[in-house]
Symmetry: C2
Subunit: 100 residues, 2 copies
Amino acid sequence: MTNKLIDKDEHIMEASLAIKAIAHPLRLKILCVLAGDELSVQEIVDSVGTTQSNISQHLAILRDKGVLATRKDANRVFYRIGDPRTLKLVGMMRDVFCST
Amino acid sequence: MTNKLIDKDEHIMEASLAIKAIAHPLRLKILCVLAGDELSVQEIVDSVGTTQSNISQHLAILRDKGVLATRKDANRVFYRIGDPRTLKLVGMMRDVFCST
DNA sequence: TCAAAATATAAGTAGTTGCTAATTTAGTGC
DNA sequence: GCACTAAATTAGCAACTACTTATATTTTGA
């Protein structure tokens, strides 16, 4: 019927928003260190390597778009990938960019 | 050894650049109408729906990043997806965003 | 050679993004 | 309550993006 990969404008917009969320190197790296794991903000800061404020802002972007979910424990906040589609996307990135 | 999805910074940057290229709704739509096909600029303008100048500028972005390849025939220019990784990426988008 | 069609480029500008630095909020334990 | 740690928020600014409008280039065909 059609050979277009995505044929509804609504799907285009949805995909575009999701892709934008992960198109920033710091955010992509955050998603990579969170793969499978659940980490506190400080652990993410240590792994990714920029300021706490900067990480916090990127976490907020990902959280607001529904990509990340959070859990609070005492005075720390733990983040994990809460959106299965994003997990799938990031996994696919590895196949495309990290294979021979 | 590691559970990170992508573990080299160089891969992160590479992936991030590629993702940025397709993160714009018009560019994603261009890639979708080009799936499999080879189309002239005017055909892309008609399919995607904005000005010729705007399309031309987005085509230039995709061309400069090596995503699209071109072929000139008379006074028309035909574009096609020239990067297999991008084709794979856009295909995967469909799986993620267009399934039940 | 001239007009028309197809595409590309350039200049200007509004809107967005991403950072830094400073401040604030919330929770813990003394 | 106070000091400390963890995290979020705010303000300001520099850089970048995407669009519009106008113009240039290339090719065709009469």
